[in-house]
Symmetry: C2
Subunit: 210 residues, 2 copies
DNA sequence: CGCTTTAATGATCGATCGATGAACAAGATC
DNA sequence: GATCTTGTTCATCGATCGATCATTAAAGCG
């Protein structure tokens, strides 16, 4: 076998002298994967090794390591919440069960992500303010409107509370925690489990599920 | 005011030359609090400072930092699962709703703990094998028997699955995550929220809740 | 007290950390 | 191809890490 030239077989990026924006983006991309794997205490020399560049180059694009971490936060938090969700949640032309199913399917497709899940947990443990802001924003713009819609749809005398919704939410998020933080086996079809949880939740308030 | 001697006012331990077992235990105790706060990358010098001893003393009792971390694991995982729970779960003289309420009340009182919650998360992110063993043990000895009991009590044609139970469990655990990992405000009376979640869960299988 | 034991300290090692600045070289322009 | 710009490397700094070991001094005992 053989005959092909083994030279330059590395599929890695060995090109040098990239445009600054491109290089900066490349560093952040790799930093997301790197910090997600080893934590925010990961060493810049190891990150540079993965990038195939020298450690000092990183500090040409980010003054301090903390600046790089902030850039990682910005990248990873971006596009994690869709602007379409408030509209979807309040679309009363569709049954609430369907709305919740679609919402949590989209939500799950965005947050059941290895890098996001772990960096969110690392930054939460580190006391980053972004976590609190994210969760507060989630509660105000998504859970509270969702609660209102469920109450409107509910004919039951007992109404759900925001904490009830947090409980449902936690049960769903826990799927991602089991998978990406604890690395435990999880269901092949999480949407099925999510729909069952939504169904149980709505059913207990006499609302039809998805 | 005054008149009292300010000398030796330090309530801290400044006594030297403790019995080895006592000193070792003291180090582990403080290490639990310390690592829970700053993570497993916490520095031994900072830990020694909190203990009021020199850094080198720590290495008289633990050959390596990893040994100390293992001791912290052992301490913090100890007594976290009660041997009484399997008996309680299978005690059919009591309604299943009551059994679940009592179980999760006891369970919550043990795991809704700042140090446990954070060290469990830190070690999970670090890939410690103890997390997987803990969760597997939890599933085998508690959730699976609980599932069996619910199925026995359920008269509904649709039976709960183990994943359904994980969803309930996750919703409950998420209370502790919100409190101790994300440091967000949580309900004053978590037991009330837990009982509501149990009630919704059992209700969806036509079983009376707590 | 004088002696022994050993818990605890103080000094320090080699490795590694984040960060800096001079030297180098790839690529564009003429 | 000579020149200039600037992305990248190389060498290195001071600080700090986990870990080691000789020294010190507190407690137990005759």
């Amino acid at each position: 076998m053989g005959g092909t030239e083994p030279a330059e077989a590395r599929p890695e990026i060995d090109r040098r002298r990239l445009p600054p924006e491109e290089r900066q983006q490349q560093i952040v991309d790799e930093a997301v994967r790197f910090f997600a794997e080893v934590g925010l205490d990961g060493k810049t020399r190891e990150l540079a090794r993965r990038l195939g560049v020298t450690q000092s180059l990183i500090f040409k694009y980010f003054e301090t390591k903390q600046d790089l971490i902030e850039a990682v936060y910005g990248r990873v938090y971006l596009e994690r919440i869709s602007p379409d969700w408030p509209t979807l949640i309040c679309d009363r032309s569709r049954p609430i069960g369907e709305r919740m199913s679609i919402f949590y399917r989209d939500y799950g497709s965005r947050i059941f992500d290895h890098d996001w899940m772990r960096i969110f947990m690392f930054s939460g443990l580190a006391g980053a303010e972004l976590n609190k802001r994210y969760l507060t924003h989630l509660s105000k713009t998504l859970l509270e409107p969702l609660l209102k819609e469920i109450r409107v749809a509910a004919s039951s005398p007992s109404e759900p509370t925001l904490e009830d919704l947090w409980s449902l939410h936690g049960g769903i998020v826990y799927l991602g925690i089991r998978q990406h933080i604890y690395r435990m086996p999880t269901p092949e079809d999480p949407q099925h489990e999510i729909d069952r949880a939504i169904g149980r939740f709505l059913g207990s308030f006499d609302v039809e599920g998805p």
